[in-house]
Amino acid sequence: MDFKDYRGVWVFIEEKEGEVASVSLELLGAGRILADKRGVELAGILIGENNKHLANTVYEYGADLVYVYDQPIFKNYRTESYMKALLACCEDHKPEIILFGATSTGKDLASAIATDLPTGLTADTTELDVEADTGLLLASRPAFGGNIMATILCKKYRPQMATVRPKVMKALTREIGRTGKLIEKHISLNETDIRTKVLEIVRETTKKVRIDEADIVVAGGKGLGSAEGFQLIHHLADVLGGVVGASRDVVEAGWIEHHHQVGQTGLTVTPKLYFAIGISGAIQHIVGMRNSGTIIAINIDPDAAIFQSCHYGIVGDAFEIVPLLIEEFKNALPRSGVSHV
């Protein structure tokens, strides 16, 4: 394998309801930094049907060029069809680095591609860097259940691939009118070549709490002792007009549903205000909330790791502190002028 043949940083662009998914915009921001450091082009890969217009958004968020597969067979995401297109594109243009969102689609596609290429794939990356001279991608992620961070390298194979968690990287400010080169691609692929069919897509429109979109997240951990104790978190969240978050332990104990979970195996959150109450602060949790605006931790254990990752900490019993906080806050805003974000 001659590494000199491999050039450029690619971002697989996911489409969501006719628009570019926000995780893809974030990856373009991250990819731009890597591409600039290497002095190479940043490309977006668009696979779908009637999707060419999305290229403009991709340029405006930092890409120099876009490879587009626009064929009816790509109407819905399917591993086999998308994989064949992306593998063909890799063979034609030999990228050095490919980034995918760590979403159901991104992870599925990246895992399949990595096996066929074959190459190394780092999952759920939270930090990315590249060695300017060698092009070696430094992909870092929490490891061993989130107890430590590990930097993973792929020294002997190309391309180097990583999936990246949504909300971890920053999208560039949109540069309206920024443009680039559109490269139309085509692959000859028949429906009979694909062994899966999408029978139905069900969007769950029930108003599920979106902790990753909230401005205030009040998260509780195992330190609250029981499902009953965890109710305290709900009360504070209500008063503040925030949403309830939880650590993995709490979700596994069944105190609250999984879509409230903050952290490596849950969601990454970036609220303006984050409360961590009775949460010890395993790295797995920290990587999911450390980009929050203001982080306030309450824990009875003065040695809890969470105090290393908060802006303000109170060493104390949540069952004493939180009710006081609820009371004080109600007094401060007697008219319940709290917006429920």
């Binding site: 969501k16 819905n76 591993t79 086999e80 159901s104 689609t105 992870k107 599925d108 895992s111 399949a112 990595a114 066929d116 190394g120 794939l121 759920d124 430094l138 992620r141 490891a143 061993f144 259940g145 989130g146 107890n147 430590i148 961070m149 930097t151 993973i152 390298l153 792929c154 062994r195 899966t196 999408v198 029978l199 897509i201 069900v202 769950e204 401005d215 007009g241 999984h258 303006k272 790295i283 605006g293 982080i295 306030i296 003065p302 105090f307 290393q308 990752s309 802006h311 303000y312 900490g313 109170i314 060493v315 004493e320 502190i321 006081l324 906080l325 004080e328 401060a332 002028g337 917006s339």
Partner: protein, 273 residues
């Protein structure tokens, strides 16, 4: 009759694992070895499909000899047969090398009885990647169906399966030809307590154990550390964020300080927001 293979792994319980704060290394001996919790759901789902349509559930694992314990746990859940590949040649494998070795083992199991369906857990709690399942599917050239949250139908006669696959904002219903591979979400089922007959069976059960020499057409370059493109170059504790101001005083004073911090963030509490 269906032959379902569940892929499983014995892992250290990462919730209990302790770090040595001085050397920043893991004290692996501190963590008990358990069946990867996600894989317990994979085995349970395999057992449910078998009970619904008839057939056999085999489990396969790669690991050192003590990993037999994880297979026994699967027999307790209701699996019929257990296979293990165990050899120093497999050591240090990343997801690419692991999927290669497991695929070779599944090919060998297929010689005993053709395989219709492979089920994996969503991921392991020590690796957290979820890449081995799709890797196995690609190597066997069968469709990978990841994030499966419900199995709707498995029809061996007609040669298809229908599942619900979880998406960020809902789910999709997918039909796939058989054989195929599912990697399943934790929410797909509840793993019940083991029954006494299954516990007894597990206690007496001896899985089939293969070394690298027992596998057919094996390319040793693709195994273990040698066959692993990814390497861990550095292990570190993450940078500690700025701040960490511990508030002093009585609880009421501490709460007062927090309150002023919050109320300063007026944009959070605009009535017209």
């Amino acid at each position: 009759m269906l032959h379902i293979v569940a892929c499983i792994k014995q892992v250290p319980d990462t919730k209990i694992i302790k770090m040595n704060p001085k050397t920043n290394t893991m004290d692996r001996s501190s963590a008990p070895a358990i069946l990867n919790p996600y894989d317990a759901h994979a085995v349970e789902e395999a057992v449910r499909i078998r009970d619904r349509y008839g057939g056999t559930v085999s489990v396969i694992t790669m690991g050192p000899p003590p990993a037999v314990k994880a297979i026994k746990k699967c027999i307790e859940i209701g699996a019929d047969e257990g296979y293990m590949i165990s050899d120093r040649a497999f050591a240090g494998a990343d997801t690419l090398a692991t999927s290669y070795a497991i695929t070779k083992a599944i090919e060998k199991i297929s010689e005993i009885k053709p395989v219709d369906l492979i089920i994996c857990g969503k991921m392991t709690i020590d690796g957290d990647t979820g890449q081995v399942g799709p890797g196995i599917a690609r190597r066997l050239d069968i469709p990978p169906l990841t994030s499966v949250k419900k199995v709707v139908e498995v029809n061996k006669e007609e040669g298809y399966a229908i599942v619900q696959r979880k998406l960020e904002d809902g789910y999709e219903v997918i039909q796939s030809s058989l054989p195929c591979l599912f990697s399943v979400e934790k929410t797909i089922n509840e793993v019940p307590y083991s029954s006494f007959p299954n516990m007894l069976k597990a206690a007496l059960y001896h899985p089939t154990i293969w070394s690298v020499n027992d596998l057919n057409d094996i390319d040793r370059k693709q195994l273990g550390l040698k066959g692993s493109p990814t390497i861990v170059s550095k292990v570190w504790a993450p940078a500690k964020p700025e701040g960490g101001k511990i508030l002093e005083g009585h609880p009421r004073e501490q709460v007062g300080q927090i309150l002023s911090v919050i109320l300063e963030k007026k944009e959070l509490f605009r009535e017209d927001a």
